[in-house]
């Protein structure tokens, strides 16, 4: 019976070959060729001119991942200690924003962070902006020349881009960590307690090491989309904070049409993902389920 059923996978294997493997081979070919099709390494050496973009993308993605971890881990842990009904509703609530396209959610942040957006209006109405002006004027060397601000610059900053990433990808951090913690064998915790561990020790010596596969999978799932985002940086960064995703997009659909260079950058991005996957696989089994909520 076994061999007969394995034929079920044949159409999908053909599909993978066509729509997964062949496109990736094309990316590799493009990355190593010139516009007229001969072999070159220029595309990679030319990436040096974009070192700033690489640096910025990594910086912002690492910050966003760290913030997601700092919020996501405690939330997952606290959630797993609640009753079953609370957990069920809580997880639905965490998943729910994903059902609204991420562009819609990012667009909403635009109107919150705008110069005359909701947050600035709020700051205005509680007098925060006036307070800031008074303090700044008092501190400035030449109070007469001080120009009072009318708003805080919130949008079109790197902070706004990080906020957008954290907001959009936080569920990707919570889900894998939560699913690992909630499946932890409770008797292990009880055993640790019986053997004299206090809450802190139980957490550090039992829960934390056992939830590591979920943490790693969460880090990957937040870091990869963050480092490659392009819509968020354009909408909340105002186009001034160009990221790797914007760079790739420009090479294919934007003004700086150069698919060869775009393919080379994509290839680098794929290598990043491979590295992440290898690290995750080293930490073994839990990963496969962790990826699926």
């Amino acid at each position: 019976m076994k061999n007969k059923l394995s034929w079920f996978a044949v159409p999908y294997v053909v599909w993978i070959a066509l729509f997964v493997v062949a496109p990736i081979i094309l990316v590799v070919i493009y990355a190593f060729s010139t516009a007229d099709g001969s072999f070159t390494l220029d595309n990679f050496s030319r990436m040096g001119t974009y070192a700033v973009v690489f640096g910025r993308s990594f910086k912002l993605a690492i910050i966003a991942t760290a913030v997601c971890l700092l919020i996501g881990y405690p939330i997952s842990y606290l959630m797993s200690r609640e009753g079953p009904r609370f957990q069920r509703v809580g997880m639905v609530l965490i998943m729910l924003p994903m059902w609204m396209n991420f562009l819609l959610r990012t667009y909403s942040w635009m109107s919150i962070l705008e110069n005359n957006g909701l947050l600035n209006r709020l700051f205005q109405s509680i007098g925060l902006i006036d307070l800031y002006n008074q303090i700044a004027m008092a501190l400035s060397a030449n109070p007469a020349a001080y120009e009072p601000i009318t708003h805080f610059q919130l949008i079109n900053t790197q902070g706004a881009v990080v906020l957008g990433m954290v907001y959009n990808y936080l569920p990707f951090m919570i889900l894998p960590i939560y699913s690992v913690i909630v499946k932890l064998d409770r008797s292990l915790i009880e055993a640790a307690r019986d053997l004299g561990a206090n809450t802190f020790h139980v957490f550090r010596r039992v829960i934390l090491p056992l939830s590591l596969p979920g943490v790693l999978s969460g880090i990957t799932m937040v870091f990869v989309p963050s480092v490659s985002t392009f819509a968020i940086s354009k909408m909340l960064g105002g186009g001034t904070e160009m990221m790797l995703g914007d760079l790739i997009e420009q090479q294919f659909l934007g003004g700086a049409y150069n698919p060869q260079l775009g393919a080379a950058i994509s290839l680098v991005m794929m290598l990043i993902v491979v590295v992440c996957m290898v690290v995750m696989n080293r930490f073994g089994e839990g990963e496969e389920q962790a990826v699926m909520l």
Partner: protein, 289 residues
């Protein structure tokens, strides 16, 4: 042994939920705003809903989004279930490398998947063009179209592509949990091979199929980047329409359409969850009885 959380940690959880939902709530509130501002409340009105239903561009993109998500979910669920059964019946030596390749679209950055598919479609269409010209010159009976462009078809293929891995990943564990003797037993008791498949395997893995389909649909609805690279200029999903608008001014009609989508999803999920909860309670009762 289970101790409930302190007040402080409850407050922390509440804050995170406020953070997650504040932008959505604002979007919904301002969909009922009279003016076209997203920041100043100018009175209640349904004007944006009215305008929305008359806006061909937005309605068309909503329709495309829903159709693509539904079709790709159905195709991916069927194909993914068969593929998972096939994978599961293979020897590990063959299965493991295949699973790694299967995970690629899921792990890869969206933009890389989008770009690679875009390159592939363009290359294929060029090849097809040459082939069609050659084929048409050979005979006069069948005329093949010589110019193919990206559009609904390529969009659908792309969505199916990134959806199947999610289905496989959620069906796979259910297959592994299944008692391998069940199928043999069914056949010993006179089931044909097909009957064993429909009456034993499918019911066993049904929860996995459903959660896989749900994940696939979520991913489809949430996607922007891959669609952006594979839709060409003839098809546009809602996300692409909004992205086009952000360069100029976003109309509050978008708030209205988001509200409608959100409320629909909320109601659907509530129904599914209430039903599930009831089912579980009933099962628990049966166990006690």
């Amino acid at each position: 042994m289970k101790r409930s959380n302190s007040l402080l940690s409850r407050v922390f959880m509440a804050l995170v939920f406020v953070f997650l939902y504040a932008p959505i709530v604002l979007l919904i509130i301002f969909s009922f705003n009279a003016g076209n501002s997203n920041t100043v409340w100018q009175g209640f009105s349904l004007e944006w809903y009215e305008k929305l239903f008359r806006d061909r561009l937005i309605m068309q993109s909503v329709y495309t989004t829903l159709l693509i998500s539904l079709l790709s979910t159905i195709i991916a669920t069927v194909a993914g279930t068969f593929a998972a059964i096939g994978f599961y019946s293979m020897r590990r030596r063959i299965r493991d490398p295949l699973m790694t390749v299967n995970n690629i679209p899921m792990m890869n950055a969206d933009i890389v998947t989008g770009v690679s598919l875009c390159l592939f479609f363009v290359a294929f269409f060029n090849f097809w063009g040459d082939f069609a010209v050659w084929f048409n010159s050979l005979q006069g009976v069948i005329q093949l179209p010589t110019r193919l462009t990206m559009g609904f078809g390529t969009l659908l293929i792309a969505h199916v592509c990134f959806n199947i891995p999610y289905v496989i990943l959620s069906v796979g564990p259910k297959l592994r949990q299944m008692d391998k003797n069940l199928v043999d037993a069914a056949q010993d008791l006179g089931c044909t091979w097909m009957q064993a498949f429909w009456k034993v395997i499918i019911p066993e893995i049904k929860p996995g199929i459903i959660s896989g389909a749900l994940t696939a649909f979520t991913m489809s609805i949430d996607d922007f980047v891959i669609s952006y690279f594979t839709a060409g200029s003839s098809a546009s999903t809602l996300a692409m329409t909004i992205y086009g608008m952000t360069k100029k001014r976003v109309s509050p009609e978008i708030n209205a359409v988001s509200t409608l989508l959100f409320v629909t999803v909320l109601v659907l999920l509530a129904i599914v969850n209430i039903r599930e909860a009831r089912q579980e309670r009933r099962n628990a009762h049966r166990l006690h009885a």
